[in-house]
Subunit: 133 residues, 2 copies
């Protein structure tokens, strides 16, 4: 697998508006996209940090995956996403290396890139995402 860069880090937050403002004021990170995924109970906001991005994530209902994460661990780092040039090849490599995939096939992410998640169980406790760049 050939990684191109750290594409983004996902950060679970309680208050989306406050967090966007915090990242803007503290780091000069500009909002580039904000959307709600009702099926996953997720609101996400992507902010530019140079060549990478921060994905702020809040829950639209307490029983959503991010809602459960916030209840259990509180706000903080949620996942890391690496860029790959060919996500189908990367998933084949991941499978061959014995990684447990959450997404066995690439799917469309919230801002129009093909993504797939690898289970934290086989990544030392780190929820890991691959993004085709």
């Amino acid at each position: 697998m050939v990684l191109t860069r750290i594409h983004h880090v996902g950060i679970a937050v309680k208050d989306m508006d406050e967090s966007i403002e915090r990242y803007r004021a503290a780091l000069g990170a500009e909002l580039v996209h904000r959307a709600v995924n009702e099926k996953e109970g997720l609101e996400a906001a992507f902010l530019r940090t140079g060549e990478g991005e921060v994905e702020l994530m809040s829950s639209t209902r307490p029983e959503s995956p991010v809602g459960k994460f916030l209840a259990k661990r509180g706000p903080g780092l949620h996942h890391v996403a690496y860029g790959v040039s060919d996500i189908a090849a990367a998933l084949a490599d991941a499978r061959a290396a014995g990684l447990e995939l959450i997404d066995s096939e690439p799917r469309m992410g919230m801002h129009g890139s093909l993504i797939a998640f690898v289970h934290p169980k086989t990544m030392g406790g780190v929820l890991t995402e691959l993004v085709e760049t």
Copy 2:
């Protein structure tokens, strides 16, 4: 503050050798530097992930900061580091934005770059590092 990219993510691990091998085999991430900081009770290994890096962190004694992190939260994401072109200017901006700094002045990091940490308290629970690139 002008961020250049996500410089690295810090990941706390229990077994350094196994974790280096995992990242090599799973993601094709090559080891570029490995060192021990006795004062901080920290062993760190930097692995290349395209333009970014992963910093694997293990403790050399249980009462070290990383040892306490592992005891409390288990292995997983520990911090995120953003690249900045001028760390002195970035720290002045951070101070002006009301961030609580762990390092009030830049200091030399484990692989020869000037770094400074921002307290998670003012970053929504995320331990945040700035690295001069």
